[in-house]
């Protein structure tokens, strides 16, 4: 039975199904129990699984750190960090332990932990509630970094994240939590590490993820209408380890590429993608790859947020530049 769900509901239903399917799944985080999460992503779970769903003290290093121990005892911890920027409080636990438990012990201890959190801008939230640090997480070997872009993708990827033998940083685009509904197949599972070709095309490749995918699809539509160009759109979904093959194949075909992300430009994921294109598709590139990204400034408070975030207009301009050059 498929259902029409929002992203936040896809999270909730997937958590519920995984709690049901596997006794070793435990879900915990700040306000995720009695209140059902500040976005209601865990509503009803405590009532259904009172022995495996827990409210946590306000302490992110603690939340990440105890996961290492829970996992060592055979559990599958699924922790929520209330907003992505607060994972910084537990960044040391993430890098020093979660990401490397397997390599430190030559596979004799592992950390199949999922850390999920809302990320990104667009909902006029408070300071430090709108960050996108996927590139920083991707620079930490041993982590898998996943960003879904729709309800069905959320369900399919979150299920794979929870079942993954390795730790996954699962970043949910806050802006999409309630904005779209989509059919979500039951027990939907999408393999990690595989990009999705969202739209096929011949003249340029646009790469985008999270809530930027929606903006991108709008922009692509209007560019296609205006120029008659045919544009391929790729959502990497797993930001790291990145599915280079799908991207390379596409750009070898189109010869032109735009990468879109909300994170600041410098040292963002677009740089890494361009480097891979440079390595694997250099002789196919007909124009410089365009970056349409957040600026190299802290995400401003919301009165200036729209100025910071890439939008349809900026993405359109990027695509047009790459088509024209």
């Amino acid at each position: 039975m498929t259902e029409r769900l929002r992203v936040v509901e896809a999270v909730r239903e997937t958590l519920r199904e995984e709690l049901a399917a596997d006794d070793s799944v435990v879900v915990y985080g700040e306000d995720i129990g009695r209140a059902g999460g500040v976005f209601r992503a865990t509503e009803g779970l405590l009532e259904a699984y009172p022995d495996r769903v827990f409210d946590a003290p306000v302490a992110e290093a603690g939340i990440v750190g105890v996961g290492v121990g829970l996992a060592a005892t055979g559990l599958r911890p699924v922790a929520e960090i209330q907003f992505q920027s607060f994972l910084y409080q537990g960044f040391h636990q993430l890098v020093q332990h979660v990401a490397r438990m397997r390599s430190r012990t030559r596979g004799t201890v592992t950390c199949p932990m999922t850390i999920r959190m809302p990320y990104g801008g667009g909902i006029h939230a408070l300071e430090l509630h709108s960050e996108s640090f996927e590139a920083g997480f991707a620079h930490v070997p041993g982590l898998t970094v996943v960003i879904p872009a729709s309800p069905a993708e959320t369900a399919g990827l979150l299920r794979s994240a929870i079942r993954s033998p390795d730790p996954v940083v699962f970043m949910e685009p806050t802006r999409l939590y309630r904005s779209v509904r989509e059919e979500v197949p039951d027990e939907h599972e999408i393999p990690l590490g595989e990009a999705r070709v969202v739209d096929t095309g011949e003249d340029a490749t646009v790469i985008a993820w999270g809530s930027m995918l929606r903006e991108t699809l709008d922009a692509v539509d209007s560019v296609e209408n205006e120029t008659g160009a045919s544009i391929e759109v790729i959502d990497p979904r797993t930001i790291s380890p990145l599915d280079t093959e799908t991207i390379i194949e596409s750009v070898q075909k189109t010869g032109r590429c735009v990468v879109v992300h909300e994170a600041p430009k410098t040292s963002g994921m677009a740089g890494e993608i361009i480097a891979r294109l440079n390595e694997e598709a250099f002789f196919y590139l007909e124009a410089p790859v365009e970056r349409v990204t957040g600026y190299d400034v802290p995400v401003p408070l919301f009165a200036r947020e729209d100025a910071f975030l890439p939008d349809r207009t900026r993405i359109e301009a990027g695509i047009e530049r790459v088509l024209e050059s």
């Binding site: 700040e30 306000d31 009695r34 500040v38 306000v58 939230a125 408070l301 919301f302």
Partner: protein
């Protein structure tokens, strides 16, 4: 020495003006009638600003706002105890304290409108901007209190945080650093019983929050945070000790009467009865009854204060709205570095270019 006692600790709690109106004559602070009225006015101003802010938010004119309704005594009693050059290091719910320290209602509103303008710190104001990451700012207050002592100045830093914040390692590190460096710092933990939805028993097994001080080897004390006179008294003493390099953790027992923020619906996680109970224990009411009984506040003065506050806030709303209209999005690029690096210049230019299109 088979089994011997090596250390003992006691946590005290202080109340001056009881709920039934009884006063502890020995502990009552020596404030003039004018000072008491100023304090009362500050409480009313803060309450009214929060109320107006909530309704402005409901009308879409403000972003997420964290009201301090019910916590005015804890904040205003403590902020009042500071000297002019002392510092305040707030979290995100400290409008009452900030107003006492000279922040304008306009700034509070601008911040809630999502404008960095609202977090500007005037050159003569010893304060840091609101800190959103829970528990992150007490370390700054320790740095301030320690920095003042390094420079041989008597100023202290007073920092506010909540019950939930006490679970963050940063807060513990702050208490511990303060003890090591004899930082001129006072920690005011407003135990308003909730961290968003999370009740204290899910936050810690500690029976009081004042006892968190024991871990750092500094003083800890609890005060009735709805009793403005007790808060003033206890924090005044803590400030004097801090000037001598002895930090204190003050736990002010209070209650968050409204929502966590305007994005929150407390009915999901707490009984309406609980709120009713605490309405009856409102800190402004308790203080007002005291002032009336002491003959310091009469109906006229009260009406006059209400009017004054109303006017001030209305003006502030107007000014904040005006400033919002003049807001330049390109300021985004201006304050990242003292001098704009070339790449940022390019990005700023591209932004201007896009705007002109």
């Amino acid at each position: 020495m088979p089994r011997e006692t090596v250390a003992e600790f006691t946590i005290h709690s202080v109340q001056v003006l009881a709920e039934d109106g009884t006063i502890d004559a020995e502990l009552v602070p020596s404030l003039t009638d004018d000072e008491l009225l100023e304090c009362y006015t500050a409480m009313k101003r803060a309450r009214r600003l929060d109320e107006r802010a909530i309704s402005l938010q409901r009308r879409g004119e403000l972003g997420t706002y964290a009201p301090a309704i019910g916590q005015e005594a804890a904040q205003i009693g403590s902020a009042f105890a500071l000297a002019a050059d002392d510092w305040v290091v707030p979290s995100f719910r400290e409008q009452p304290a900030l107003l006492v320290r000279g922040t304008s209602p306009q700034s509070v509103l601008e911040y809630a409108m999502g404008m960095e303008e609202g977090a500007e710190i005037p050159a003569d104001a010893n304060a840091l901007p609101p800190a959103i990451p829970v528990g992150s700012q007490p370390l700054h207050a320790v740095g301030v209190g320690w920095g003042e002592s390094i420079q041989g100045r008597p100023n202290v830093a007073l920092t506010y945080f909540g019950d939930g914040a006490t679970s963050e390692g940063d807060v513990y590190e702050a208490l511990n650093f303060a003890g090591v460096y004899d930082a001129q710092t006072v920690f005011v933990c407003q135990n308003n019983r909730y961290a968003i939805s999370t009740r204290l028993e899910d936050q810690t097994a500690a029976e009081t929050l004042a006892q968190k001080a024991v871990a750092a080897g500094i003083d800890g004390i609890r005060v009735d945070g709805n009793d403005v006179l007790a808060v003033y008294r206890v924090v005044s003493e803590a400030i004097e000790r801090a000037r001598q390099g002895e930090p204190t953790l003050v736990e002010a027992l209070t209650y968050r009467r409204s929502m966590h923020t305007t994005s929150d619906d407390p009915s999901v996680y707490r009984d309406p009865e609980e709120a009713d109970e605490w309405e009856a224990r409102d800190p402004i009411v308790r203080f007002q009854v005291f002032l009336e009984e002491q003959g310091i506040l009469d109906a006229d003065t009260k009406a006059q204060i209400d009017d004054q506050v109303e006017t001030e806030i209305a003006e502030a709303i107007g000014q904040a709205n005006e400033r919002r209209e003049r807001l330049d999005p390109a300021d985004l690029f201006k304050y990242v570095y003292a001098e704009q690096p070339p790449e940022l210049e390019r990005q700023a230019a591209a932004f201007e270019g896009d705007r002109d299109d």
